[in-house]
């Protein structure tokens, strides 16, 4: 299993388009974060004696809570590119018939998919941690004169762990959809559609409980503060839904990979 996983990691890191999407994601993240440093510093400088801060005009909230919410939210927006990256990692197999070579090398399909999932998960985990670390670094620049210890508090670390779980599980869902569809493009379309349903609140209009079953909505429910955001379920529900999406799609991918000829 170790050798197969190592080979899958090599496939990931030697594919130029993976580096391009990774680089673009990180560059965009840095660009967005760099623009928020001054805004965060200004907001922190104006914290009231009662410990409240005004992030959005006319809305005062406890400063600690607001800063931690901002920290997680800043990582959340860029992590929406990770399912696309997951789809590209899996979709490489279906370009130029590489899947045939992969099955020649690792003929047990279950073992092959396990190695692929583990390798993709490790790569995406490293990227999610890097995104979270960048968010912390830029937030530190904004609040260092107020309460820099807040960024390593238990609440902050828990928030970051939740973000990493969301990013990896959602990206693995995109990865698995690409295996099921045997197409990077279809997987990207499906994941973008899932994101769009949450963004447009189309499912919320029908039933909040339905919205809570969507992966991005589950991510919001897991990561954001219910006191300042309109959420459709609690964090435990969100984590369960995200794990369910990843598990169900990977299981479906395993069945498809096993039943189909390697084409």
């Amino acid at each position: 299993m170790f050798s197969a996983t190592r080979a899958e990691l090599t496939k990931i890191v030697t594919l130029p388009r993976v580096w391009i999407v990774t680089g673009v994601s990180l560059a965009l993240h840095v660009l967005i974060l760099s623009q928020s440093v001054h805004l965060n510093a200004s907001a922190v400088a104006d914290i009231a004696p009662d410990g409240t801060i005004e992030i959005f005009i006319g809305e005062r909230q406890p400063a600690d809570q607001a800063i931690l919410g901002l920290l997680v939210a800043s990582s959340l927006q860029i992590s929406l590119l990770l399912p696309i990256l997951g789809a590209m990692i899996a979709g490489q197999e279906f370009r130029s018939r590489q899947l045939g070579m992969s099955v020649l090398a690792v003929p047990r399909r279950g073992r092959l998919l396990a190695a692929k999932t583990l390798a993709a998960g490790l790569y995406l985990l490293a990227l999610a941690v890097l995104i979270a670390a960048l968010s912390v670094a830029f937030m530190y620049a904004g609040i260092k004169d107020w309460n820099p210890d807040l960024l390593v508090s238990r609440a902050a670390l828990l928030g970051q762990a939740r973000f990493v779980a969301f990013a990896v599980l959602f990206a693995l869902t995109g990865f698995a959809i690409a295996v099921i569809a045997r197409s990077t493009l279809i997987a990207i379309i499906v994941t973008v559609a899932l994101i769009a349903i949450t963004m447009t609140q189309a499912a919320t209009a029908v039933a909040p409980s339905l919205d809570a079953l969507l992966p991005l909505s589950a991510g919001r429910n897991l990561l954001l503060d219910a006191a300042t955001n309109k959420l459709t379920a609690g964090p435990a529900h969100g984590l369960t839904v995200l794990a369910g999406w990843a598990t169900a799609t990977i299981a479906a991918a395993a069945v498809m990979l096993r039943r189909r000829d390697a084409r």
């Binding site: 030697t14 130029s96 018939r97 020649l104 000829d261 390697a262």
Partner: protein
């Protein structure tokens, strides 16, 4: 030793292989011949675990391919339906294959030099000519120093020098006691290389035997091939 027995394959309502049976033995080059669409690639894909058979068995040293531990160290294969991603460098393509079967890294340079791609190892595969792509396929097949080689149309796209190299290489490989099974539609090349011949037409084996047995009564292998595949003269 490769043993294929009663192999059948159906796609929906279409039968592409029917009761395909033959053996490729150690120390011999076995040519697997047939017109386009006759079932050569389907047979090889089933043998190597890429496609599932509807019936029959395809065994390598008495076991299905998927039961081999580190299969590339037993079987080296080059198939039309198993290639590299064009954007990846050739050396990286070989590296992941080697890692998957615990093949030493030093072997990469050896096989690249062996097939004449030592100077182009760091090029992306999309910049390769058809012949260079074929050489890379042969390099991948040889990575694990396998005792069995399965090559699907290995000389396609090769220049005359490359074709001669492949012919000599396969002869030497078999002479060392190893098994070589190659599919081809080039009769002259095959008759210069093969010890045994298996001819398939419309999904069924029409003849099998040593080169001398198959060509007996015909001026050449090409004449035997066309006589046997044009009118389906029946299994000999």
């Amino acid at each position: 030793m490769i043993e294929i027995t009663g192999l059948g394959k159906r796609y929906g309502g279409t039968t592409v292989l029917r009761d395909v049976t033959f053996t490729a033995r150690p120390g011999r080059v076995t040519a697997f011949l047939g017109p386009n669409g006759a079932g050569k690639s389907s047979t090889l894909r089933i043998l190597l675990g890429l496609d599932a058979a509807t019936s029959g068995t395809a065994l390598i040293n008495g076991r299905p391919y998927r039961d081999l531990k580190h299969p590339l160290r037993t079987v080296g294969a080059m198939l039309d339906g198993a290639g590299p991603v064009p954007e990846r460098r050739a050396v990286d393509h070989l590296r992941w294959i080697a890692q998957s079967n615990r093949i030493p890294r030093a072997r990469l340079r050896e096989v690249l030099d062996l097939v004449g791609l030592g100077g182009a190892a760091r090029q992306r595969v999309k910049k390769y000519s058809l012949g260079m792509g074929q050489r890379l396929g042969v390099a991948a097949a040889l990575l694990g120093e396998p005792e069995i080689l399965v090559l699907d149309e290995p000389v396609n796209g090769l220049d005359p020098d490359g074709i001669r190299w492949v012919r000599r290489f396969l002869r030497e490989y078999a002479a060392a006691g190893r098994t070589v099974l190659l599919s081809s539609h080039l009769m002259t090349e095959t008759s210069d290389t093969a010890d045994d011949v298996v001819i398939i037409s419309r999904g069924q084996i029409v003849t099998r035997g040593s080169l001398a047995e198959v060509t007996s009564g015909y001026p050449s292998l090409e004449d035997a091939f066309f006589a046997l595949t044009s009118d389906r003269a029946g299994t000999r």
